[in-house]
Symmetry: D3
Subunit: 192 residues, 6 copies
């Protein structure tokens, strides 16, 4: 089989580190120090500094906050909805994070392909049912859905968290797909 050259990291031009505003460059270097590489999404969004700052402020507000959802559960939402949106970058990058957070090498692929068959709890399935409804038919979300969440001990603030994560990564999935955003090779094996 002929090996095609690897695609570039984005359809859009990516700035050199020296062109990037210093607050953003600092974040890039910090993540590089921690992870050993700079995830491509940081480089690609850095071409639009204001959008970069808002994107990561929003991301951190949803993914790093305190709350009843564990960090692994938040990543499950990202992975399940991102595969349904066919977003290569998000499934592969957040799949790695999910494996690490859940300390489970199998879970990301399971949740991505069909969360109904994944090794997760009934409560987590209810969480993902709600997240998928937000991603694909938010217009029809109603009292019944909130009642189902309550049966699984998710309160109203948890519902907001699930919805906001599904909605935020729905945005991210669309930007990544339009930009042909390429996941770093490192993500594929992290946590396996």
């Amino acid at each position: 089989m002929p090996t095609p050259e690897q695609a570039p990291i984005s359809r859009f031009p990516v700035p050199a580190l020296s062109e990037i505003p210093s607050d953003i460059r600092d974040r890039l270097l910090a993540v590089q120090e921690k992870s050993g590489f700079i995830p491509n999404v940081f480089l690609i969004l850095a071409r639009r500094p204001e959008e970069f700052r808002a994107f990561f402020a929003y991301h951190d507000a949803l993914m790093d906050k305190q709350g009843n959802l564990t960090k692994a559960e938040r990543e499950m939402i990202v992975v399940a909805t991102s595969n349904a949106n066919q977003c290569q970058y998000c499934v592969i990058a957040h799949g790695a994070i999910l494996r690490i957070r859940a300390k489970n090498p199998l879970i990301a692929d399971q949740v991505a392909i069909n969360y109904r068959k994944a090794d997760i709890t009934a409560r987590q399935k209810a969480m993902l049912d709600f997240a998928m409804k937000v991603a694909f038919e938010a217009y029809a979300v109603g009292e019944d859905d909130f009642a189902t969440l309550r049966e699984h001990d998710f309160d109203q603030e948890d519902a907001w968290d699930i919805a906001a994560i599904a909605a935020f990564f729905g945005m991210s999935n669309r930007i990544a797909n339009v930009g042909n955003m390429r996941p770093n090779d490192e993500f594929y094996t992290l946590g396996r």
Copy 2:
């Protein structure tokens, strides 16, 4: 016909102005001074200050920036994709803004219901075709779509703008639908 009581402005509790951090309260008061009322989205998102700040920073980065898209054109993207997502708040609020920006009392309803039949240019239809593809099948966006945009004098940065606006309001539509966010009555008649 029995008149049901008006629904509350959200399914979620809304903070009193006094509970809102001062930087956010200042923004609310500024918009109230300018518009004569506080759009409900400000009050509802204010219950989550960090998310509020990120949301509006992102919003402003996309909607207020310089660029080849006019402000009316950006609102067209919001209105067309928001009706397709069945988001009452976004169609009604941004429909008002579109009427004002375009100085055209008919255009918002036309673009919302079926932009293919609206009194807009062929270039604007191409812009909305792309925005709708981003909203509903971003996974399939490819070189052909960028080529079509170029035929209508949209360059690569314009493509990013269109995509990012469609993606950002796709997020906003989902949050508004889950939150049962109610548009202020004032929006219905603004610019007609």
Copy 3:
């Protein structure tokens, strides 16, 4: 923003009043006297006199008859299904009629965009749930749907009415979309 010329009232040629058979012309003049203008659908369908007569006979049989549905409720069915079918003419013209019949300036936009969030009764939501199922998956309508209607005090004749209105305007939506039927400017502000 360049203002494109307004589109013509239809993709099809429209007859002069003098070319229209007198029974039809009389109806056009009567509606003009009552409303102050001739709705474009009358002019466009007048090019096919037999179809015109059948169309309006059917329309009147469904919309003007006695029955348990109020006139405003019948218009709700038209508005909700027509926006789902992306029919500009029908949403804008019947939105105006709905505002007038319901004496409510907000209701048409609410019902059009997402009736689940509109200021309507639970009974009216059940009516619209049924109408939307008729419009999009009539093949699956069954006893359960009739039972749900009965819980909301809709009897079998009401069910026929709801279904027939949804079906008739489904036809009308398709003809209007194929014909690029343009709503009269007057409709946009009536009843606001």
Copy 4:
């Protein structure tokens, strides 16, 4: 296999001949004289005399008029769109008429199941492509579709005819499905 009792001819009660207004009864008797039986749609719609008269006036205006479409071609439109709408009554009754009009015992089943594989001309396939687009995405019909029709020698009036037939039977399909309208046994073998 246990044989379930045959379903009644409709979910709705059907009037006795004696209860039916005389103009409608005359039509029923005329069709009975010609065909040897009264098609159930006549009996079922007769319960609503005004709707009956409008329905058949519309039907006749579209199906019996002069024009470039042969009567067999009009029936093809009915049969193809009605199977896509899963309407048992319309496929079976109009399938019989199509076999008779086309003097071809195979054509109705072929057109119903997948018209792309039927023994019809390329022109007829273009006609059915357009009819199906009217039935399922009329909102997107545009100049390109009319141009394709012109390449196959369909003019603008033919386009109206195709669209109106697809739209009228879309209405009919929905009413028949909601009413559980049962085709007469005679239709199954007519023209085979």
Copy 5:
């Protein structure tokens, strides 16, 4: 109406009987002796002997085995799912077999077009609901579906049978559609 020439029996070349391996030719001749003609699927698949053998071994394992499903019920599954997949060959050929097995000349057309309105038992409708879910959203099949089957006295082995038949003919439908497989004229009238 111009009569187009009949389409060939497949888009792919079909082998002469003399070119077909003898075990396959024997099966063809046996079916010809029994039915009076060789169904085209045998001729078309014979061009790939190994696939032919596997296909019919699988077919026979599912359709001829002992079990709680009658042979007519198995054919109902084929007919309902094949029309939903728009497979002309399978609906027409298996429609004939269904009429014969069920000794009911009406049932095949009813089940093909809309099984919810067919003269079948509630148990058979539950069987077809499950088969359609397997055909179109197998990823969502879960405990609830098995529970519904049990209420209708279908055990776990019956569920496998229904699923496997729906899945096998889903494969067959796709191959027949890609190959433009033409049903033999004889099938249209068998069992009517």
Copy 6:
């Protein structure tokens, strides 16, 4: 995060090796010898010996035959269509085989999530476009699709191969989903 117990390998009971007919047991032991483990699909299908034999005969006829498609390309078809069908077993097991056949640790995840963004050739993308059309709208496959394949040097036999593989695994995906078939843990890391 609570670790739920791992799900069993199927919703259906699985036979003991001693209960399995010897020809099938021999195949199981052979694959175990070669791979180091028995893939669960062998154990689960072994409960139905005749179906097992037909399934694997068909599988081998399509996947092991000579032809213009490389073995890696055949696995790409499996992986892309199986993720679209949300089949956990097939994506994970055949993803492993694809990585090994293509000697590329990244390719399976890329092809599964969005093959349009994968590191594959334009010819392979055309192959997968065709396979996806077979999987989701085989009824519409026509001459244009074959012409596109020819532009990429796929002849008519290659088209059959692609279609048959997509169709066969569409069957397999449905059976695996209904059976809650669990991929062996070994597959997740093979070839990474």
